[in-house]
Symmetry: C2
Subunit: 517 residues, 2 copies
């Protein structure tokens, strides 16, 4: 005996399935959406599956399938054959109708940290240049990907990947793969006079991940942190993300001005420094400054975050040993990275922390950061153990020295009066000083229009830089491309010198940070 119940058409539901969508699924979705939108009221009796099949001209299996799913998911009450009603749901609000409305973008409700991060201005560089865009000139912070032994790395990874059925698939210790921690401890001990046990080494997802973890574990919101000025914007971003205040401390020819730091923020909780080769100015922190910095940290109970980001590349003289090795009081958190030496997408770096911080940092890696995939860690361990890593560093040192010398020579010949380029004694970029009245941000933008990718010193400065300058990366640009690119740079500097006269104020201050350092 048919029960008295409305047809679906009577309540405004008609079917209009998209091609390839099963009728039963479409029916399920239409009824569900009608319930959620309030079109079908809670308690309403629906036609029987048989009556509905007849109404729609579909098989009864189709209607039973849709009804069963709706019942399973809680939209309908009742059993087959015993009458079907819309469940007594509290439909919150017609706006709940979820289906066909794209969510509106509105003001997000973020934490202070989230809001600070959303406010950090930055841009993506170098990830979009596909195969067709030609060799780069002169990206800052980018290694010579063209010279990386990718085939060899692929073999090392592949060997590990094929053998990975065993322990490498399992959960790993959050502090890192133990053989890699041991290899890192041995390497930094030998190459950088860092003093540590493998237990003090934490493998992290790149230097930035290490800086972020250190900032979060050492800085409370509102705390001060000494930040080299000019300095690495990634460290500044990590400090801001922790809710702390990066206090700009000037850098001179001896490195960070410790006295200025003490005057500006005597109780800063950390000092971020690049003592081996200051980023971006390239100076080495003098021994008196190093001792004064460690003394301050000891007295203030603060930590020094030493970012040794490109210490592998020194072309003249020996590198100065690390600050960490000079510290007898456990005040230094040392940050290193393999991404600069091997290839950026590797995303493996390391922290070396004082004993007293090991537990907190390990818990931080466990609960508040990302482990590094075990496969990469094991492959890197092999790469180091087999001598490939040391060989690659030696090769790159020679290559970068050559590229740097070629860039400096070309600049001296072509950029006289436009840009005064410093010698490339270390690292992966050189500084080119502009005439005092030039706007370096405008010059960098103009260069980009000539397909030359340089960064302005001002983009790395918190307070106005004393002299306008450009940063020219020399590591990633093959020698044959250097002279033509310097020609383009000369043309851009000449053009921007002409066009920029008298409107410096208008152009200044875009504040954009470069990516990729």
């Amino acid at each position: 005996m048919p029960q008295h119940s409305p047809s679906l058409a009577a309540v405004g539901i008609t079917l209009d399935p998209a091609p390839g969508v099963a009728i039963s699924r479409h029916l399920y979705e239409r009824i569900r959406d009608a319930i959620l939108s309030g079109q079908l009221r809670p308690g309403l009796r629906l036609p029987s599956s048989r009556a509905l099949a007849a109404e729609l001209g579909v098989s009864r299996t189709t209607t039973v399938t849709a009804y069963e799913r709706l019942r399973d998911e809680g939209y309908l009450d009742g059993r087959v054959g015993a009458g079907t009603t819309v469940a007594l749901l509290q439909i919150p609000h017609p706006a709940a109708a979820p289906v066909h409305e794209p969510p509106r973008v509105r003001q997000p409700r973020l934490s202070a940290q989230g809001a600070a991060l959303a406010g950090v201005r930055w841009r993506m560089r170098h990830t979009m240049d596909g195969p067709g865009s030609g060799p780069p000139a002169f990206p800052v912070g980018r290694p010579a990907i063209d010279a990386f032994p990718a085939e060899l790395w692929g073999k090392v990874v592949a060997r590990r990947a094929r053998r990975s059925a065993g322990s490498l698939l399992r959960y790993q210790h959050p502090a890192g793969y133990q053989p890699l921690r041991e290899a890192i401890a041995a390497y930094v001990g030998m190459a950088r006079a860092v003093r540590c046990a493998p237990e003090q080494v934490l493998v992290v997802g790149g230097a930035q991940a290490g800086l972020s973890l250190a900032a979060r574990l050492l800085l409370d919101p509102g705390d001060d942190a000494w930040m080299e000025d000019p300095g690495y914007y990634g460290a500044r971003g990590a400090i801001i993300a922790a809710g702390a205040t990066p206090v700009p401390v000037p850098v001179d020819t001896d490195g960070l001005d410790i006295d200025a730091g003490k005057a500006r923020a005597p109780h800063a909780r950390i000092a971020y420094v690049t003592p081996s080769h200051q980023f971006p100015l390239g100076v080495t922190m003098s021994l008196p400054r190093r001792l004064a910095l460690l003394d301050w940290a000891r007295t203030a109970g603060s930590y020094v975050v030493e970012d040794d980001y490109d210490s592998e590349y020194r072309y003249v003289g020996d590198p100065l040993p690390s600050l960490q090795g000079l510290d007898g009081a456990g005040r230094v958190v040392y940050v290193g990275s393999f991404s600069k030496v091997l290839f950026p997408a590797l995303r493996i770096g390391y922290l070396i922390v004082p004993d007293e911080l090991v537990d907190a940092f390990t818990a931080g890696q466990r609960f508040a950061a990302a482990h590094v995939p075990a496969l990469e860690q094991a492959a890197l361990t092999d790469f180091i153990a087999d001598g490939h890593f040391a060989r690659h560093v030696r090769r790159m040192r020679a290559l970068y020295a050559g590229r740097g010398a070629a860039l400096v020579q070309a600049a001296r010949q072509e950029l006289d009066g436009l840009l005064s380029v410093t010698p490339a004694h270390a690292g992966m970029h050189v500084i080119g000083w502009l005439p005092q009245d030039r706007d370096d941000r405008a010059a960098a933008r103009q260069a980009a229009a000539y397909d030359v990718d340089v960064q302005s010193l001002s983009a790395h400065a918190q307070e106005p830089a004393e002299r306008p300058a450009l940063l020219l990366g020399h590591a990633a640009t093959p020698e044959p491309y250097i002279v033509p690119a310097v020609h383009r740079l000369a043309a851009s500097l000449t053009a921007s010198a002409q066009s920029a006269r008298g409107r410096r104020a208008e152009l200044g201050g875009d504040g954009g940070y470069g990516e990729d350092l």
Copy 2:
């Protein structure tokens, strides 16, 4: 004409090089340490390199090398032949003597977040069991690593690794490899009725990294966060690490008790839920609760963090669509992971965030988290595109259903009166209820002594659990090992029932969290 200067021996410096250490390096270190310790005072004149060579009976090259390095590093003043003096350094404190003293472990000075993390109790499990320790029974949250097609995965990775000379070595977008973001959006749309564009997908270093990022960007210190109780301790750790307070909200047979949450913390900024298959109880959140939760989030301006950690594994009936798909107001942050489906060490997960949060979360990935290595992302994209992923999920669904059924059957036969095991309709573990008077923590410890790895329900509860229970993972234990392990579990439960009588209070409350969920 020899200058008047003390011999080094006269100021207490003698040489005693370790085997294999060059004399010049040893001499450098002894003098450096003597300067840093105050043994050699600033301004002191040292013997000439010639006189020192004679005094020590070494070549002049040795002493010149040591002196030059000390001069380069700033420890000595003067030029060769013109007299050498100790530089006028401000040696901070004799305690600065860095070299032979291991740093003392002292109270670290951490941020509130760091201190909170250092206080989270947890332990490492399952990473140490090497090849010799036999198959595991019954670890919670561990997939069947033995059934993972490691050889195939290795080939996919190796193919990508060999071809990686190109764009894969470069810096990647912090939100993830675009083809993988597209594959994830398609997958969750199809499998979980998640509604999103690829731009809303962020690839993160595992579900825990995603939870941590969400907690940091959405929670300020002191904020409340609803936390399922019992619930996933990793989410609790992420909330604590953000400085926020996890407010325990009870879970009943319909899932999270929304009314209890509103009563306890009406203004919580996030609610952490596992609606598809609550961890650890296994219940599915009912539709009325889902609607009520979304309504609360909309009204309170809060976010729901939906952790869909094991939705791939449902053995009876269809899975309920995601909460995210029911949300029309952009209040849900959806968390997924590949580590549970493929293998734990992969460490790739994803967040799907409302449009309004995309910018902040991308900046968070850039500055405050770790990118995921491009190689793994590309290999996973291939694995999905080639159909391996879907095939593996299907195989594991059948395998886990079989292992779960075998465990439940064995438990019914062997554990009568000791443990009442629920059917395994979904997921990777079952619940075994203990008699009301038993202490589940003590039972878990006793089981470990019988080589059975189970977790207590109490270890996952913030407030005392209503009934004592054990969690038994069935995914990682091959069927032939299930019956013997259930025998051992029966023996352990019998033993602990005897030994535990009357001393429950004494044993309770170790509070240790399990790893590996």
